[in-house]
């Protein structure tokens, strides 16, 4: 029996956001590989080996998954959200390009998932309803200068912005610097959304402004959205809606 590798997205948390094609891949797998909390979302069953690894071990994890597939296993690499957005798909292809030449002949598929940014956007309304960008705020794998340059240019382009990995215990100060840059180039009333643990029991959605935003509003489970100049707030008894209109007036 020949092996294969599927790199799949589990969505932001709720099982009801996992696509049927991802569920089918998991049902046919012999091995699931991923970061500990994501593998834990896949139920144990006879015939399935669950390989859990720690954060920041992405390349080793990717190599292990490719080795298993080459040995004939049916391997699913799991990411939260979408596997192609700051997740395992790029790590697997980095490992593939640098590693065993036979890995290139494997059957490999990426199965998309509901990304954290689009789940967060949906919960708040439609803040990413017009042109937007998506930036990973972690400076583990790129210099802070690149992040700052991209923030300034994104503001100049008047993109709405979605931020991944805004803040962690190892990087407590980066998000404060991000807010400083935004305050330098955007008006104080710019709408912001802090969406934490979307679609899980711990979900919180906080709508605020750049003037009121504080670094402590974000942690590693928070997806941060910054509106464009056009982004609007609708106040309702049931809670605010934030959306970006389809038109831009020059």
């Amino acid at each position: 029996m020949s092996g294969w590798l599927k790199i799949v997205g589990l969505g932001p948390g709720a099982d009801t956001m996992i696509t049927p094609e991802v569920s089918a891949a998991l049902a046919n797998a012999t091995d699931v590989v991923g970061y500990i909390p994501y593998v834990n979302r896949v139920a144990a069953r006879p015939g399935l080996v669950r390989h859990r690894s720690d954060n920041r071990e992405e390349i080793h994890r990717a190599e292990h998954a490719l080795q298993l597939a080459l040995a004939g296993h049916r391997v699913v690499v799991v990411s939260s959200g979408d596997p192609g957005v700051f997740a395992m798909a790029s790590a697997v292809f980095e490992a593939l390009e640098a590693g065993d030449a036979r890995w290139c002949d494997l059957e490999i598929q990426v199965l998309p998932g509901i990304s954290a940014m689009l789940a967060a956007s949906a919960r708040a309304g439609a803040p990413l309803g017009h042109d937007f960008c998506c930036i990973n705020l972690s400076d583990n794998l790129k210099p802070w200068q690149v992040i700052e340059k991209r923030l300034r240019l994104a503001a100049e382009a008047d993109f709405a912005m979605a931020f991944y990995n805004p803040r962690s215990k190892a990087r407590p100060s980066g998000f404060g610097r991000t807010l400083d840059v935004l305050r330098d180039v955007c008006e104080p009333g710019r709408l912001m959304i802090f969406a934490r643990a979307v679609s899980t029991p711990e979900e919180t959605i906080r709508v605020t402004t750049l003037a009121e935003a504080e670094p402590e509003m974000a942690d590693m489970r928070t997806l941060v959205i910054v509106g464009s100049q056009s982004t609007r707030l609708i106040e309702r008894e049931a809670g605010p809606l934030v959306y970006t209109p389809r038109s831009v007036v020059s």
Copy 2:
């Protein structure tokens, strides 16, 4: 019985990419509202009225959906892909803000879907695996000058880019202008992907470079991706993989 409105994403085309929460909403609906080909994707059944409207009638369609919900119907507004990315969610909120005050008291939810850009990215590998932006190339609702400015700033920021609505019969020349701007600011070997009708029987994925790209490679069913300076190509017998690594070297 009180009405509700759910604005949902059907994903790019395949039923296996529709999330269970969207399927459940459709199963509980009395009315489905949307653009003709998207409503046609929802199977007819007793008790379900399917309201089809033409392109460019988004606000009228949104008002109709809100009226039905206010009258007690259980209404699903369908978009292709994700409803929050250049789709019906923003149109519904524009109508809500401008319309009948009672609409604000309705139960309204946005249910995310697999977006065209992430489905296209998955098919090609992981070209959006690092910082990226997403631009609607239609100048129906914004001036071309805004599009050109955003393209130039996105290139300067070295974002990968995903383009929606690159070209239509009514706008045959816009995508050629987009290529001209990109050629002005990016190197000729910049990787590009033309992903058409992803996950449908008509799917085609074409990987090329900016130098080789031609306007005729895109139509309204095409999602175009432009890599960043870091985006890489892996040649394989099974077809090329395009991915953007997780690291940026300054």
